[in-house]
Symmetry: C2
Subunit: 500 residues, 2 copies
């Protein structure tokens, strides 16, 4: 997931699979299938484009628009393959797989590691790929062995809430500072997102479905107008001195330079480099992604009229998320793949739960992932527009995390202490480790400490998980009872009973 565009389940008319126009095994006519598939593509587009854009600076791609365009294209290409695999032979739910925000913080930490930070784009990417591949193998192992059930026994909403919320909050250096490169446009983007997604939502279906996309297009249009009118000049030479382009300058130069077609290939950035510290850091991202995905499976099954996921379906889903991440690591998206809750929301809104439609969306992703001009197009969005999108999107991730607090007794001082402490340290500890990375022997151990310490989500998750399982508290108080998907618990108990 990465909670953005559309509402969670709330306003979904198709809850519980009633009233579906097309159920999970239905096959809508080919024309409808393509259009509905394209809609899934549009729904996942915001988060999927955001990830490579965010990664461009830490990966050292700021001044390499061509490679950035390739990276965006690879992202869509791999997401399509992962979606196709998941929906066809994985958990077989109509669930879109795409890039995940939960890998961002560990990726920043890896890119800042000694020996990596000094290197160029390719080397940084290779280290990230290595960590993602090792993490993927672990996820595959966890999915194949069913270890995830064991894991979930210790993970309650007190752990989830700060962990997920910190994924969004930890990105605070990317929100206002990027939108503020030129506030009139950054602010316009934010204002339009609020207007479309919150105020005008009920007035037209387009606002309900694509508020962020439409806000971006409008703001981008404003940049184009301003550029045309000469308000936002491009790079110029004044008395021999180079004046940088206006932040809101809309230029399609990158687009012209990009080739029309390019098929992403495995190891396109070189051979991955494997490091234990990088893997450990990335594993924190994997844990967060797995826990989120399981919740998505239940929501998706309910929406699409599929039977309640069994333990086997859940394990298979995780297994195929691991396979998706492995492919992402091999191709080099700088990220992994995970389930997208915004697309589950789209199923609720459209009342179309057909697997076939999601597969059509996947094929569109793969095809467009081979059109380089397409990836390059997104690199031409002016930064303040991107920054405005960040502000709305990252906040939503934070509150999707916070929404888990509804299961927790918020009058218990035990809970308040754990949640608050995990939250605060999740912001505070990275501040320490970024300023004072530790340096001791063996270097790999110091690297692990630094990578984890710079990853707020990992710090918060570890503190909450540890304290929530160590400090005495009832299941009721901790929200474990209300939180765990009932079905999973029951099938667990059933199995245990069988074994006994």
């Amino acid at each position: 997931m990465s909670g953005t565009e559309s509402a969670p389940t709330e306003s979904a008319p198709a809850e519980d699979g009633h009233d579906l126009i097309y159920g999970i095994d239905d096959k809508p006519p080919i024309g409808e299938t393509v259009v509905l598939g394209f809609q899934h593509y549009l729904t996942m587009f915001g988060s999927t484009v955001a990830i490579p854009l965010i990664l461009s600076e830490p990966l050292g791609l700021s001044d390499k628009p061509t490679e950035l365009g390739y990276l965006i294209a690879t992202m869509f290409f791999v997401s399509g393959i992962a979606t196709l695999l998941q929906s066809s032979i994985g958990n077989r739910l109509p669930i879109i797989q795409g890039g995940t925000f939960s890998f961002l913080a560990p990726t920043f930490a890896i890119c800042a590691m000694a020996g990596v930070a000094e290197a160029g784009f390719e080397v940084r990417m290779q280290h990230v790929q290595g960590a993602i591949i090792l993490g993927a193998l672990t996820e595959i192992f966890i999915g194949a062995t069913g270890l995830i059930g064991l894991l979930l026994r210790f993970v309650g909403p007190i752990t989830i809430a700060p962990t997920i919320a910190l994924i969004g909050l930890a990105l605070f250096k990317f929100g206002a500072p990027v939108a503020g490169l030129y506030w009139p446009i950054g602010g316009l983007t934010i204002g339009l997102i609020i207007l479309f997604s919150q105020v005008m939502r009920k007035t037209h279906r387009a606002f309900e479905l694509y508020p962020i996309l439409m806000a971006i297009l409008f703001a981008w249009g404003a940049c184009a107008l301003g550029t045309y009118m000469g308000w936002f000049p491009g790079e110029t030479l004044v008395e021999g001195e180079k004046i940088a382009a206006h932040p809101a300058h809309a230029s399609l130069a990158n687009l012209h330079n990009a080739p029309w077609f390019r098929i992403p290939t495995p190891f396109q950035w070189g051979w991955p480099q494997f490091g234990f510290a990088a893997f450990i850091g990335m594993f924190a991202g994997y844990l967060a992604s797995m826990v989120e995905s399981i919740g998505d499976y239940y929501a998706c099954a309910r929406m699409s009229g599929a039977p309640v996921p069994t333990k086997k379906v859940v394990n298979k889903g995780i297994l195929f998320e691991g396979i998706g991440c492995l492919i992402a690591g091999i191709f080099g998206t700088g990220n992994g793949t995970t389930s997208y809750s915004e697309n589950i929301g789209a199923i609720g809104l459209t009342r179309v739960g057909a697997r076939r439609v999601v597969q059509a969306g996947a094929i569109i992703m793969i095809v467009l992932g081979m059109v380089s001009k397409f990836g390059a197009l997104f690199t031409t969005i002016p930064s303040p527009v991107v920054g405005g999108m960040y502000c709305a999107m990252f906040g939503m991730i934070a509150s999707v995390g916070l929404s888990n607090l509804q299961f927790v007794n918020l009058n218990s001082s035990r809970n308040l202490f754990i949640i608050g402490f995990a939250f605060f340290m999740g912001l505070s500890v990275p501040e320490y480790f970024i300023a004072n990375p530790v340096d001791f022997e063996p270097a790999w151990a110091a690297n692990i400490v630094n990578t984890l310490g710079q990853t707020g989500m990992a710090v918060g998750a570890f503190i909450a998980l540890f304290l929530d399982n160590v400090i005495p508290g009832t299941d009721e108080e901790r929200g474990i009872a209300a939180f765990q998907p009932k079905e999973l618990k029951e099938s667990d108990e059933g199995e245990l009973a069988q074994k006994a």
Copy 2:
């Protein structure tokens, strides 16, 4: 409030005023009164000492231990006077008044203002005092006119939650970085606080009442031991070069240098300087403090067996908090005064709600506020111990804020958007304004923008307040219905009906 030491109301046996050993108007024997009053003093001590310690760097007191000692003493002195006034002629509830964390962020912003940042301690303090005095006059006006009821009509839990939480979270630069000056001691302090307050809480009354105080004493003792053993050397000269003292070095030098007695005097740091931008920034802190205090009145009345606060009692309480802040501004604590929820918790735990006891505590504060050695003692706590205390305390403030989310529908995408956006921008916008303060004419307007923009709490509060009142949503959904103290609402409506 400043949510720290003891539990809120949860485990309080005296809820609803039943089972009280002493009720609000009771007069326990003099010996008991003093001991119980001293206990209130110990309960408020953690937050009250923390504030001047946090302010020491922005105010330019880092290398002025003598003045810092005076500042701490003044803090207690003023808190005592404010408590005495509030409990005797204000709302007459047994409610301790002390320094408030909600003024910290605006104070940082004021100290960073152009023309202030370059000046020394006295000038910075004078600007802070000016802002606090103007804010106090406004609070007095709001309390005297009953405007607060109008205000509360727009303020729901969706506004409160991010605002209060950001008071704690915005301090993330002070937590781990300060504890991490020497992790063995910083970590020990954190570990002991967790052990005492969460794990051993039920084993001994001392842990229940003073977990933070005891953790500080233990960790301080460890520093003293390490200093004695020579592990934590003081400032030394090695080959003519000055080597700074070990961060955990425990020295009582500051204590020796301080005079025994010193009565804080009005305007001891010079004549306050009044600025509109500083006032506007500080006013955000006042709003947060007022909203919190009102909740405290209801809790305190319930705990101490006093009648449910009427609108008049609430207004009088705010009026006297304004008077307390005015006195704080005149004496120059660099802060204001507000109601302490930890002491309400202590009433619940001790089952003593007598006003007389709180007044005894106030007198102890005033007396110890005149003993300079006493204030100086706290300046000798080694920094990592203080940092450890921050980590536990600021996290608790954050989660006290988050606990307001229990009244909100966390499945509504409207609410999630507003909460998440306010939270994210509350962290992200200050990041922008600290790096890029705006500079335009008139300068006072630019100053206002910079002061507010650097105050995360103000940004979050404004965004949440605006969006929560503008984006359509039912009272039910917004949590307004469940949140507002029923009594206040009823008396409001009663009065309106009378007027009609």
